[in-house]
């Protein structure tokens, strides 16, 4: 790691005053230290927000839930309210990375982690997302890359927390010294690579992600998240499914099918959702939704397997959410 100064901040106001001259914010530090050790990021100044106690904690509100950005993935995964009422968020945070990392990594940091493409993460490759013209993945090694909606960059959305929060219609709270607070939905937070290859989200350099707001799920909501990987632990998903079902007795009033490892930005499959809406949840409707989720898939040279994996992930996770199937033992732990 290169040498740097560290501004240790005890309040949000203090941290906001430090967001200038290329300083990079550090919370849990897991993703940032990885990038700095790889040599892809070489900041001369870090703003340490890890010790801002007001940014930690999970609070129930009349509208739903507010989670401080510094709340760790382990704290989210273990929270009794989240486990029972926002189940897919507990599932997603409880299966990210390793138990050790979940004790360190924050929910805000999980949402803001950078692409996990091995070309992007290597200091040896100067790719489209780093301001150059060439993507190496299209003609190179792309077995973990996107199968749809990729435009000029097929690196997949790395945050499993974002998959769950998209399904829950959650928003992030962005705070700046100049403009105060603004609320942006997860749907609008991330930018498609073609919109501007060098920007990943709408947060400005003088803004801090301070909280995550989640509306209270409608009565009769059931949800689940599962990810599939090459390893049982450690790894990012090669396929994942965040499912939310609003049930009227045995009929599905509204369905959300969210995916992360299919595309550069977390997405919902409206085709899969249509296959469930107004119908009972059965093996047949769940299978149909899984198949429908691959509408428009255009796999790359090495990842056609994902077109078979995603429908299975979605089918099994729909049944898990509906209480008709146990957690898949072959899903990543």
């Amino acid at each position: 790691m290169n040498s740097f100064t560290l501004a240790d901040c005890s309040t949000v106001e203090a941290a906001l005053s430090q967001l200038k001259d290329g300083a990079i914010v550090k919370a849990g530090g897991v993703d940032l230290l990885d990038r700095m050790k790889n040599g892809t990021d070489t900041p001369t100044r870090l703003v340490n927000i890890r010790n801002i106690s007001t940014l930690r904690g999970i609070h129930s509100t009349p509208q739903g839930l507010t989670i401080g950005a510094l709340t760790t993935l382990a704290e989210v995964a273990d929270d009794p309210t989240i486990r029972t009422q926002y189940t897919l968020l507990a599932d997603a945070c409880g299966h990210a990375a390793t138990p050790h990392i979940r004790n360190m990594a924050t929910l805000g940091g999980n949402l803001l982690q950078q692409l996990q493409c091995w070309y992007y993460r290597s200091a040896e490759f100067q790719c489209l997302r780093k301001g150059k013209e060439l993507c190496f993945a299209f003609s190179g090694l792309n077995q973990y890359h996107a199968i749809m909606d990729y435009g000029g960059c097929p690196s997949v959305a790395p945050s499993s927390g974002a998959v769950a929060l998209l399904a829950l219609d959650a928003s992030v709270e962005l705070t700046s010294a100049a403009k105060g607070k603004r609320i942006v939905t997860i749907r609008d937070f991330y930018l498609q690579p073609d919109a501007n290859p060098h920007r990943f989200h709408v947060m400005a350099a003088d803004e801090l992600l301070t909280a995550i707001h989640i509306p209270k799920p409608a009565p009769g909501t059931r949800s689940a998240y599962q990810k599939y990987g090459e390893k049982e632990s450690h790894d990012w998903a090669i396929a994942d499914a965040g499912i939310l079902l609003e049930m009227d007795s045995n009929l599905c009033r509204r369905a959300v099918v969210a995916m992360g490892a299919a595309s550069p930005v977390v997405r919902r499959s409206h085709e899969a959702e249509a296959a469930l809406t107004g119908k009972p949840i059965t093996h047949e409707t769940a299978r149909a939704a899984g198949q429908a989720s691959m509408t428009g898939a255009m796999p790359l040279s090495m990842n056609a397997y994902k077109v078979q994996l995603f429908p299975v992930a979605i089918y099994r996770t729909i049944l898990l959410a509906a209480g008709q199937m146990d957690r898949d033992p072959s899903a990543a732990g």
Binding site: M1, N2, S3, D8, A14, Q18, T98, M104, G333
Partner: protein, 224 residues
């Protein structure tokens, strides 16, 4: 703030490997090389940064580095005064500066967890934790769970069950399982699997780790 400096007795070191013809042990040589590299980096740091900005630090902001600065780390029940840079990881502070080489570094990216220590009794990767972030918290390392005379019951169980092959992942495995038994004195095998799901063992000795941990749990339960 105590100014306690650990003596060699309190930080026992494993016997060094065979000395080179020049009488320099492998470990001693590597440590010397590390200090030289750190010294060079420090000089670069001093040249690369201006200190003018420090004068006007606003309220609620404490500025550190890039030069080394003094801190006190609370490790295994003792206070250790040392000099760190902002970029010093907790793993490097322990191993290079405090000579506590029981904590291992393998991947240096938070993937393998051989560097596991407990921060306020919670297992974390010391390679991905800045030492400055450990200030004000309690750090427990593999050196802190036993005494010179007596192994931790979990370590004894690892020996009984031969729960190691090359041994490099073992300190991290033990720390993950110590933390598990503190939180859950009666774990199932699934609980142990979950607790060590961040600990990578290339030798594949997981079944014996599970057996040793379950055995230690039942031994501790009998004592309690």
């Amino acid at each position: 703030m105590s100014d306690h400096q650990p003596s060699q007795k309190e930080l026992p070191e494993a016997p060094s490997t065979a000395p080179t013809p020049a009488g320099i042990s492998r470990r001693g040589f590597l440590k010397g090389a590390g200090i030289t590299a750190a010294g060079t980096a420090l000089l670069e740091g001093v040249q690369g940064f201006s200190r003018e900005a420090v004068a006007s630090t606003p309220k609620g902001v404490k500025e550190f580095g890039p030069e080394p600065f003094p801190v006190t780390l609370h490790i295994n029940g003792k206070e250790h005064a040392l000099q760190i840079e902002p970029r010093t990881t907790l793993a490097d502070a322990l191993r290079i500066q405090l000579n506590m080489t029981g904590t291992k570094v393998s991947c240096d990216r938070g993937v393998c967890s051989s560097c596991t220590v407990l921060l306020d009794r919670m297992p974390v990767n010391s390679c991905m934790t800045l030492a400055i972030d450990a200030v004000g918290h309690h750090v427990t390392t593999i050196e802190g769970i036993s005494t010179d005379e007596q192994m931790h019951p979990l370590q004894a169980a690892f020996v009984r069950h031969d729960a190691m092959q090359c041994g490099f992942c073992t300190p991290g495995m033990v720390m993950s399982c110590v933390s598990l038994l503190e939180k859950n004195p009666h774990p199932t095998e699934a609980d142990v699997r979950y607790a060590v799901s961040g600990n990578l063992c290339r030798c594949g000795t997981y079944p014996k780790v599970f057996a040793a941990t379950l055995d230690a749990a039942s031994q501790l339960a009998r004592k309690a």
